[in-house]
Amino acid sequence: MADFEIRDLRASVEGKEILKGVTLAINKGEVHAVMGPNGSGKSTLSHTLMGHPGYTVDGGEVIFKGQNVLTLEPDERARLGMFLALQYPVVVPGISMTNFLRTALNAKRGYDGKDKTKQVSPKEFRSLLKGELEVLHMDDSFLPRYINDGFSGGEKKRAEILQMAILKPEIAILDETDSGLDIDSIKFVADAVNRMRGPELGVLIITHYTRVLQFIKPDFVHVLVDGKFVLSGGPEVADRLEKTGYSEWAEADEPAVLKPEEVA
């Protein structure tokens, strides 16, 4: 039994069936890449795993730490050790990044406003932030800003990874964290993720393009087409996609590598 098991997961959005039976076993210490053309259901998978209310589970289960997390609220999943870096991080006006990060970290540590021993100390919080900001090549100036408000695409994605670094999940799902990033930003993000890799972390990295996999080397690669895995294997699967794209499975010829003009 793997640390995190997705079993025959089926899900729909607004009555439309999207995930048609996804099965995947992730162990801590492993990095799994899920690749697929646009609209194949990658974000549906990530949102369903995290419990977004807009996605309906039609069947299957997701077992983590001995329980089916599909019955849990998103915050319960997070406190259990799951993390989702969103493809499109949400703007929340009026709340500073610092406040957000501190509140999330306190929540993760089980601080409910009463037991002060569980509360992160200002000193610890500062040093934690400082270290992670450096790795991501971000400066303090973004901390007093409102959550994702006016952030560039790259800043948003880096902020997601910063949250991951602070919260230290055991299962992290990164939904197209590489999309829209220039090569430097991809490297910073990859450095940060690689630093976190280790026996305590399992990663599910969702991507459209093979490029990010040069920086974050996956142990397994799965190809999602029309809500189902059509191919799973080792890193060689990514190489194959690089040559042929998704055309073997999808009608449209979707490249799995960036076109030259898309490389910033």
């Binding site: 915050d75 009026g94 929540a107």
Partner: protein, 469 residues
């Protein structure tokens, strides 16, 4: 803006705000309202004859004026079942040590001395119907600033008082200004001389602590030319079993080049009727800012206004209203542009929850002389559930040419995307909702001194948890 630290509130609210102190009054008026009671109030206060007459005249006006029916439902107020004057102690206190122990305990729990240590220039704390504690730092006195309770001002500064009292809001302005003028007691009086800037906010803590007790405080602020003052009033009330009426009048005169900011955070218990008339006159290039936060009370009706009397005058209203179960916050703002090149902004944020109702009334009036004037109004309403309600009633009355008028209104709900995002980081639903609401009113909160910002965020948290009222 500075990040507001998260404070643990769940446990100490009752302790800090919801306590009772045994009533120990020197004088307790009878319930009800008639010329005898008004005479008695004036006599008790040893007032000059003109004030007694003005009170009696106002009582007549109050009697004649019909109850306003255009706003919240006020028909349940029983004017005969209210105490119109209560006095907590016989003499004015001049220092903290001299305060009666009961009252001291009240303010100790409210943290007045601590607040004073931190950034107060003076404290004027209203206990029951009369200000009993008053202090003013020496440097202010040296600068000629007067900061006292309104009763003392009538006694000690009779000429200044008579020159301005009732000039901004005459008794006949509305039914409740008439009532206030008839039975007023306490409140703050501030005079800032020419060119004097009071850099530290002056503040008063208000409490009401007797059943069926009315509070009719009367505040008068005069900012002479080129001066500046920031006055803060904040109140939290203990929980009552029967209805209570609060009907204040605030008059402000802001002369040429002066600036006045008046900040209020009110959190009356949810049986209080809070019917307040607030108005300022702003003269050439003067600025008047109302920062007004309304939580609590059963019904609040309050529309701070600025009369922009001379060219270059500027008026701002920034307000927040929170209406929970059984509450109706009927708030708004009025800007009366009388002179050319005057500007006004009204920014309102309202939150309705559990069937609570917020209304926002905006009245922009531009007289023919108000050429080249500008006004911008923005109302954002946040509804936390389907039973709650929010309405905006804009009313523009423009007779001037070449003016700019902007109006923006939004009604939204706490977004699923935002909730999901915060929850996906391990934050509980209720905490995430509180964060989103506090984020929504942040443009207001950031205008408050830190301590008040923290308190407001705490109150919102309590409201969100449903542990208030």
């Amino acid at each position: 803006m500075a990040t507001v630290p998260k404070v643990d509130v769940g446990t100490d609210y009752k302790e800090k705000y919801g306590f009772f102190v045994p009533e120990d009054y020197v004088f307790k008026a009878k319930r009800g309202l008639n010329p005898d009671i008004v005479n008695e109030i004036s006599w008790m206060k040893k007032e000059p004859e003109w004030m007694t007459k003005m009170r009696l005249r106002s009582l007549e006006i109050f009697r004649k004026k019909p109850m306003p029916t255009w706003g919240a439902d006020l028909s349940v107020i029983d004017f005969e079942n209210i105490f119109y004057y209560l006095k907590a102690s016989n003499k004015q206190s001049t220092s903290w040590e001299d305060l009666p122990p009961d009252i001291k305990k009240t303010y100790d729990r409210l943290g007045v001395p601590e607040a004073e240590r931190k950034f107060l220039a003076g404290v004027s704390a209203q206990y029951e119907s009369e200000v009993v504690y008053h202090s003013l730092q020496k440097e202010l006195t040296a600068k000629g600033v007067i900061f006292t309770d309104t009763d003392s001002a009538l006694r000690d500064h009779p000429d200044l008082f008579k020159e301005y009292f009732g000039t901004v809001i005459p008794p006949a302005d509305n039914k409740f200004s008439a009532l206030n003028t008839a039975v007023w007691s306490g409140g703050s009086f501030i005079y800032v001389p020419k060119g004097v800037r009071v850099e530290i906010p002056l503040q008063a803590y208000f409490r009401i602590n007797a059943e069926n007790m009315g509070q009719f405080e009367r505040t008068l602020i005069i900012c002479d030319e080129g001066s500046f003052v920031h006055y803060i009033e904040g109140c939290t009330a203990p929980i009552y079993t029967t209805d209570s009426l609060h009907s204040a009048v605030v008059e402000i005169i802001v002369k040429k080049d002066a600036r006045c900011r008046y900040t209020t955070i009110q959190n009356w218990s949810t049986n209080v009727f809070n019917l307040v008339t607030k108005r300022a006159m702003a003269y050439a290039d003067a600025t008047m800012e109302w920062v007004d936060g309304n939580l609590g009370s059963q019904i609040t009706m309050k529309y701070p206004s600025v009369y922009l009397m001379e060219p270059g005058a500027k008026g701002d209203v920034l307000s927040v209203a929170f209406a929970g179960k059984g509450q109706h916050q009927d708030a708004g703002g009025k800007m009366i542009h009388v002179a050319p090149n005057t500007t006004s902004t009204i920014t309102s944020k309202s939150i309705s929850k559990a069937g609570g109702r917020t209304s926002y009334r905006v009245h922009i009036k531009m007289y023919p002389d108000a050429k080249n004037s500008k006004s911008f109004v923005k109302c954002d309403a946040l509804l936390l559930d389907d039973e709650s309600r929010s309405d905006t009633y804009p009313y523009n009355d423009v007779d001037a040419e070449n003016v700019t008028l902007g109006h923006e209104a939004t009604v939204s709900k706490v977004s699923d995307e935002q909730l999901f995002y915060l929850m996906s980081r391990g934050i509980t639903r209720s905490e995430a909702e509180t964060m989103i609401v506090n984020g929504f009113i942040e443009p207001f909160t950031k205008e408050l001194p830190l301590e008040y910002a923290v308190e407001l965020n705490r109150l919102i948290q309590l409201e969100m948890e449903g542990s208030v009222g």
